[in-house]
């Protein structure tokens, strides 16, 4: 089954070739014990575009063994930071070379517009690899003064080892780069399980890994069903660390499996129900623009989607008007159509989920001020939907929808706003809009979120850390902080002069 397929791209009258096997030891191979395949769909047309080999638990064993061998021989402490840097920069250059084709493949499988995939997703991914390539030869420990006459104490920042990485379907290439880059920079080897919904670009990137010159086994890619490959990685006795981005519910399973197996290190980037607060001093037009971005970008399929907005009473009506007319301009359509701002939802399952929430919102008595109507055409398209007159008990206010569905509430005082914002088990992102500097400082200090945006929303930089508080996650990605997730500290106490007398004289 492991062979190259040519996937037609009708909108562009071309074909993209992708290797469909499991990528282990720099080769695409069939499963060792299974003939299962995963079907990949085009969410704009609901059609199957390709089938790829589905990895089994045994295949995960093979991949982990390959990663372990590489870690002990050609990677880990056997490769210098400069060499890691060089290879990572080479990979970034190759992705840049192939950006257009990778973008088209991403659009085909995920649905997002081609220009967005190319300039944002892939553009950011290239920068992410280059950023971490720059860190690779700068991993420093400390020397620590204990006693100059008798001891030389220092720390080594060593690579953790073999890392299982499980990534989601909302930003396939971008999430791949966020995981791969810091791990490679510090010298870890990787078994990557891309989402079973969007495995194609991970496989295509694996071809570039070979071209860049990485030794076999450093990066392995095993498309697999979550309960199969994901579970196997989380429970694997020879995986030293698992990093996961996805739902909170799956995150719990991964952490449990890690605890029950070998206490492997865990970092989790989970869900969110991120609030934005619109205070009366805010520039309402700008706040509306950022709010629109917050819920419509990537068609709301974003862990930090600004899915709850609370508006101060005094500006409520005015803001709703501006927001509705702003969001109305959003064009949801086929990713190959140049006028499209956002694509379809990624799959039937997501489509049904989101509609379930929209129906629940109506049933629980929230008021629809925009959208909420099915298209009844082919493709998993959902138009932006805004609910008002919500209360904190409603499902659409409490639970993560992961679609372009926004709930808007109101508040009188700053205290009330903060309370409403923090009334969630999640803590990934939050935004506040105000021109009162003291208020900005107070409120940003009080919001329980890993990222707080002041007068903007959902803008990230590769060098600024990102992650969740509360049940939104454990650990941080991006910035120098991500390096810590893949580094294991060893303290060395080197005796250079102490002579011991046993028993001790007390």
């Amino acid at each position: 089954m492991a062979h190259t397929v040519k996937i037609p791209v009708p909108a562009l009258n071309k074909e993209i070739s992708v290797s469909t096997g499991l990528f282990i030891n720099n080769e695409f191979v069939p499963s060792v014990d299974s003939s299962e395949v995963i079907q990949c769909f085009n969410p704009a047309t609901e059609e199957v575009i390709a089938s790829v080999v589905a990895g089994s638990a045994k295949d995960i064993d093979v991949a982990v063994a390959a990663a372990r061998t590489a870690f002990k021989t050609t990677w880990g402490k056997n490769v210098t930071g400069w060499e890691r840097s060089r290879l990572m920069n080479k990979l970034a250059d190759l992705i840049e070379r192939d950006a257009q084709e990778l973008a088209e493949l991403e659009t085909l499988n995920n649905g997002k517009p081609v220009a967005v995939a190319r300039d944002f997703d892939i553009g950011d991914s290239i920068q992410c690899l280059r950023y971490y390539a720059g860190w690779a030869d700068k991993i420093t420990g400390q020397t620590i003064e204990v006693d100059n006459k008798s001891k030389m104490a220092f720390t080594r920042h060593e690579p953790i080892g073999v890392c299982g990485q499980i990534i989601p379907w909302n930003y396939p290439i971008n999430m791949w780069s966020w995981k791969v880059a810091p791990a490679l920079a510090v010298g870890c080897t990787i078994v990557m399980k891309p989402s079973e919904i969007t495995p194609l670009t991970a496989l295509k990137l694996s071809e570039l890994v070979v071209e860049a010159g990485f030794p076999p086994g450093v990066i392995n890619t095993v498309p697999s069903l979550g309960p199969v490959g994901g579970a196997a990685l989380s429970a694997h006795p020879d995986v030293d660390k698992v990093a996961f981005t996805g739902s909170t519910i799956t995150g719990r399973k991964i952490m449990e499996a890690a605890a029950k197996s070998n206490l492997k290190k865990v970092s989790l980037e989970l869900g969110g129900k991120s609030p934005q607060l619109i205070f009366e001093s805010a520039d309402l037009k700008q706040a509306a623009a950022w709010s629109a971005l917050g819920i419509c970008y990537n068609t709301g399929q974003d862990c930090t989607a600004g899915s709850r907005i609370y508006v101060q009473d005094s500006v409520y009506d005015k803001f709703i008007d501006i927001l509705v007319s702003t969001v109305k301009e959003t064009v949801i359509g086929d990713g190959f159509d140049k006028s499209t701002g956002g694509g379809p939802l990624v799959s039937k399952a997501q489509f049904d989920r989101v509609w379930g929430y929209i129906d629940a919102g109506k049933a629980e008595g929230a008021k629809v001020v925009l959208g909420g109507e099915r298209r009844n055409t082919k493709g998993y398209f959902v138009d932006p939907t805004i609910f008002t007159d919500v209360n904190s008990d409603m499902k659409i206010v409490k639970e993560e929808i992961f679609g372009p569905v926004l709930s808007i509430g109101r508040f009188k005082t700053e205290e009330e706003a903060v309370a409403l914002a923090n009334n969630t088990t999640y803590g990934l992102g939050a935004g506040l809009h105000s021109t009162d500097a003291s208020q900005c400082m107070r409120v940003s200090g009080l919001l329980e979120a890993g990222t707080v945006w002041v007068n903007q929303y959902n803008v990230l930089s590769n060098n600024v850390p990102f992650g969740g508080k509360k049940q939104s996650g454990i650990g941080r990605e991006l910035g120098s902080y991500a390096l810590e997730e893949y580094t294991s500290i060893k303290a060395v106490h080197w005796n250079i002069g102490e002579k011991l007398q046993w028993p001790l004289s007390l």
């Binding site: 930071g81 400069w82 840097s85 920069n89 920068q127 280059r130 950023y131 390539a133 720059g134 860190w135 690779a136 030869d137 700068k138 420093t140 100059n148 030389m152 500097a437 003291s438 900005c440 400082m441 107070r442 200090g445 590769n462 060098n463 120098s480 080197w494 250079i496 002069g497």
Partner: protein, 500 residues
């Protein structure tokens, strides 16, 4: 009209042609000096003229400083993000790689080091240095300090502004990369004076800098003499910082000029008389190899040269015998010969200086154990030289010779040799050879030097800091530490609630 320098290399190790614009490089253009005078560039292998280059004057320094300030306010400085600075530095490294052989050949021609050394070390390390600092450019972090909830207190690590950089002739291209790497990574604009003895590789680099896409005025090159251009830079009222590598004598003048003008920030990498201590329990054969590298690398023209070799009495005779044999085996010859280890000294000036020191050694009663004479009749070649039977007060033991002249001193006692090693106004580097880790580390930790090598000498890496104690310098280059030389810390305290 600025000139074009063309040279055809037809040698056993390199065949190729170089052709590039020369002149001062100011605001993205190659121009003549305002006096329209020139400097002769001499080939030290034969004493003959290679070419003439434009001479800069203090007036040209003014023009360059103005161009640098303009760029800093508009197209560089804080107007450009770290990711873009990183991209440009990476591009420069790529261009250097593409032209590596050409750069190495120019360096060998102008400086006299062998083409092979220029390839394997100078140009390779220079490229690595630029790449290393490209990686830092988007990682310049300040801090947030906790004061109270009504205040936001943080630091910004801002570029200093326009920096003057004065580099030496011993590793021209490498020294240029050590200076421009961290300065550009942190967002500064540069007015650089290369050595008047070895300007060619720096001039060649300017075109690569231009092609890489650095905005005009970010890097400016003013080729001129120390007492005119160097002095103008150190005392310039609109240069915010000067970084200098060279002799301690000149370093003092620069610091004085900085103090007398605008109290500009200074970093200095100066001379050394670095000790190399070899204990009885050293791996003898390895110690011999490293000791030779320590003093003869770059024809002894290295600030960190292990020029005082202390050998413990138990192995002294064996060491001296093997070390002499090793020194004798080093081939002195044309920089472009296949098997040359050592080329000529860089200039007649330096040649005369070194020969004077050798003479003083003889006059003061030391024994010339090996060499002590010229090699050949053309060019500034000096044979590897070993002095023995010295006393601590001799000039050849106290002063920096900067040539292939090593002093081998017998010692007995560990404490005494450490005292002797530290008995110098210098403190750049030191080396210890011993198989006993306790002895080695204890000695290394007691030596008053900015770099202590254990069982190696003269090893440098882009990410490991380098600089001097005492009169060997102020500040550190390389590693993360170099970034501090080019950033100014601003504390911002934002009151968000305290009522006065």
């Amino acid at each position: 009209m600025a000139q074009v320098f063309t040279y055809e290399f037809n040698t056993p190790v390199y065949k190729g042609k170089t052709s590039f614009n020369t002149g001062l490089y100011i605001n993205g253009k190659f121009v003549e000096g305002s006096n329209k005078t020139t400097i002769d560039v001499i080939n030290p292998a034969n004493g003959k003229l290679i070419t003439q280059i434009a001479e800069a004057t203090p007036k040209d320094v003014d023009i360059a400083v103005d161009a640098a300030h303009k760029a800093f306010e508009t197209t560089w400085g804080l107007n450009v993000g770290g990711a873009e600075r990183s991209r440009l530095l990476t591009k420069l490294a790529l261009l250097m790689e593409e032209h590596q052989k050409e750069l190495a050949a120019i360096e060998a021609l102008d400086n006299g080091k062998t083409f092979n050394w220029a390839m394997d070390l100078d140009t390779t390390f220079a490229i690595d240095t630029i790449r290393y600092y490209a990686g830092w450019a988007d990682k310049i972090h300040g801090q947030v300090q906790e004061t109270d909830e009504k205040k936001l207190s943080y630091t910004r690590h801002e570029p200093i502004g326009v920096v003057g950089q004065i580099i030496p002739w011993n590793f021209p291209l490498l020294m240029m990369s050590w200076k421009i790497g961290p300065a550009l990574a942190t967002g500064n604009c540069i007015v650089m004076k290369p050595s008047e003895f070895t300007p060619l590789s720096a001039i060649r680099m300017c075109e690569l800098i231009d092609r890489a896409g650095f905005p005009p005025g970010t890097v400016n090159l003013v080729t001129g003499y120390g007492n005119t251009v160097g002095s103008a830079i150190s005392s310039h009222m609109k240069i915010d910082k000067v970084a200098f590598t060279g002799s301690t004598l000149v370093g003092r003048k620069i610091m004085e000029a900085a103090a007398k003008s605008n109290l500009k920030d200074i970093t200095l990498e100066l001379g050394g008389k670095s000790p190399n201590i070899i204990y009885n329990d050293a791996d003898l054969d390895q110690a011999v190899e490293w000791a030779a590298h320590g003093i003869y690398w770059n024809h002894g023209q290295a600030c960190s040269a292990g020029s005082r070799i202390f050998v413990q009495s138990g192995i002294y005779d064996q060491f001296l015998e093997k070390f002499t044999e090793k020194s004798r085996s080093l081939k002195v010859g044309d920089p472009f010969d296949v098997d040359s280890y050592q080329g000529p000294q860089v200039s007649k000036n330096q040649y005369d200086r070194i020969m004077d020191y050798i003479q003083s050694g003889k006059d003061e009663g030391a024994t010339v154990h090996l060499g002590g004479d010229r090699n050949g009749t053309e060019g500034y070649y000096i044979n590897p030289t070993i002095f023995t039977n010295t006393t601590p007060d001799m000039k050849i033991v106290q002063e920096e010779i900067f040539g292939p002249v090593g002093v081998v001193i017998k010692f007995e006692d560990e404490d005494d040799v450490i005292r002797q090693a530290n008995d110098t106004v210098f403190g750049l580097a030191a080396a210890v050879f011993s198989q006993n880790i306790t002895r080695a580390l204890n000695t290394a930790h007691r030596l008053k030097a900015g770099t202590a090598w254990v069982n190696c000498v003269n090893q440098l890496h882009a990410n490991v800091p380098f600089g001097g104690f005492k009169q060997s310098g102020i500040g550190r280059e390389l590693g993360e530490y170099a970034l501090h030389n080019y950033t100014a810390v601003k504390s911002v305290q934002v009151n968000l609630g305290h009522i006065m």
